[in-house]
């Protein structure tokens, strides 16, 4: 197992963290990961991450949900067991469509929302029985942690991080995965 040295810099304010991320990146250091207790707006842009494609996935899931609703209601109400409800015999999907719109809407939303959340979890490598990756439990409370791999001068990087307002700086050996 190869192991590498990383620096963990902890911050206690999201604005200071944002400024620090910008400064560290301006100094051409690679930031491996940032752990935060809550979503920080604009952090993805500051880190230079590629824009999320979850919206496209969600649109596709919504279309699948809509299709499932149409096919399902067509089978249940028109093909398998047609009934005469309120003087509207179910012989044609189109003529009975207004009654199915709420179902079409609900299943579109249901598919889009649930599959989007599941996709998000999987894409974030979070699945059942997975051990937490965050290196410091304080990042689930009130601290923000920036992880930077060390290549070259360790002291220079430490000083830079101190300047940006880090409240704690640790150098740890991390097992690569």
């Amino acid at each position: 197992m190869e192991s590498s040295k990383v620096i963990h810099a902890l911050y206690n304010d999201d604005d200071i963290l944002m400024a620090a991320v910008k400064k560290v990146r301006a100094e051409k250091h690679h930031i491996e990961e940032v752990y935060t207790p809550f979503p920080v707006h604009g952090l993805d842009k500051a880190l230079g991450l590629a824009p999320t494609r979850i919206a496209i996935a969600s649109f596709i899931y919504g279309c699948i949900g809509l299709t499932v609703a149409v096919v399902m209601m067509n089978f249940i109400m028109i093909k398998d067991w047609p009934q005469n409800i309120g003087g509207k015999p179910s012989f044609s999907y189109l003529e009975n469509m207004p009654a199915f719109v709420p179902i079409m809407f609900e299943l579109t939303v249901f598919f889009a929302a649930h599959l989007m959340v599941i996709t998000f979890y999987l894409r974030s490598r979070m699945w059942p029985f997975k051990n937490a990756e965050n290196p410091d439990p304080r990042t689930t409370d009130d601290h923000f942690l920036m992880e930077i791999p060390v290549h070259g001068d360790e002291n220079e990087l430490t000083n830079l991080l101190k300047e940006t307002g880090a409240v704690e700086i640790k150098i740890v050996d991390k097992e690569a995965h």
Partner: protein, 452 residues
Amino acid sequence: MNYTVSNKLKIVSIILVIVGLLGMGYGFMSTPESVEQVETMLANESHHGGGHEAATETAHHEMAAETHDAHGDEAAQATEDHGGSHAEHVYHRLQNRPWAAIYVAAFFFFMIALGALAFYAIQRAAQAGWSPVLFRVMEAITAYVLPGAVIVFGIALASHYIGHNNIFIWMDDKVVEHDELIKGKSGFLNMGFFIGRGIFFILGWAGYRYLVRKFSIAQDTASDTSNFKKAFRFSAAFLVFYIVTESIMSWDWVMSVDPHWFSTLFGWYVFASMFVSGITVIALMTIYLKSKGYLEFVNDSHLHDLAKFMFGISIFWTYLWFSQFMLIWYSNIPEEVTYFVTRIEDYNLPFFGMLALNFIFPFLILMNSDFKRVNWFVVMAGIIILFGHYIDVFNMIMPATVGDQWFIGVPEIGAILFFAGLFLWIVFTSLSKAPLLAKGNPFIKESEHFHY
């Protein structure tokens, strides 16, 4: 920086008004003068008419087709003679057409201004931080509330006092005499109460608009925030007043054209239509002014937020439209469902086309987050939304007044041009009367730095 109305804009609005006047005049001149004239006209038409009517009839046979005559009866009662022939029926509908054409366009432009006023009051009452840079644009649009409302109300009254009750048949005493349903509603639907309510609404809306504009301009040079606080309080109170009066106004000025029919969510439905039209015009005007080099403090994020509102309220409109439609369609009660039967049979294209324009287009075009920042995308979506909501008003007024004799021709387009010209003139003149940045607003810094 102040805005000055360019000469080009002035000329364009004057031309629109003149062309519109000619169109509306032509509409009145070209109505048939006698029943005989209509008879010959119908005789000519029947050569190339054919089985069209029969086809639509069978297509919707499940929709209580036997009841759709109820609506025809209403119009027939509007004619002086009860045993009126088909030609006489058509003659009266054609006579109603220029009135209805003007009324639809007048209401559409008035609705934009009132929708913008509601949006503005919400920004004020919520003390929104993102929008104060757009306040002067919104205030300018709301300048049309008073003239617009007076014109709509004036046309409604003129159709009774000058015309022959061409828009509201409940105004005709001869009709009410023989109509038990309208008679039962005459405690509410009578000229005196109608006029009183109308005056009360207009005074309330225009009074709020006058005061809040005064506070807004006074705040520019004030040393404290007392004007801002007053505007906040008046706006909160106005929103309560607005939602009640807007609802009653929609029964009075729109729903009562079909005096037999009623829908309990009609006020909300008209509100959604005016709200989305108002927001769309705010967005279009902002983009126009930015393209002319004004409003340098407005950025992409403001536009993005307006486009989000256009997207969201379009869906809200569809939700209300469908809520109204589905319940009536499902329950299939003759006196209710006749409203949709006439629209599906005689107004098939505008009725379903409106859904595409007001829902499917904005939904698909404005769904992508990035597109909401692209000016020409928002302009394109905005034009579609405005056209769709004109058709929406058209569908509300026309079936009761001209029935199957509808067409979007010279009278309708003339009326649109006339009110568009008037709207542009009043709105841009009002815009030029105050600085474009409401610089005294306590949230103006937040708004200028708004970034999403």
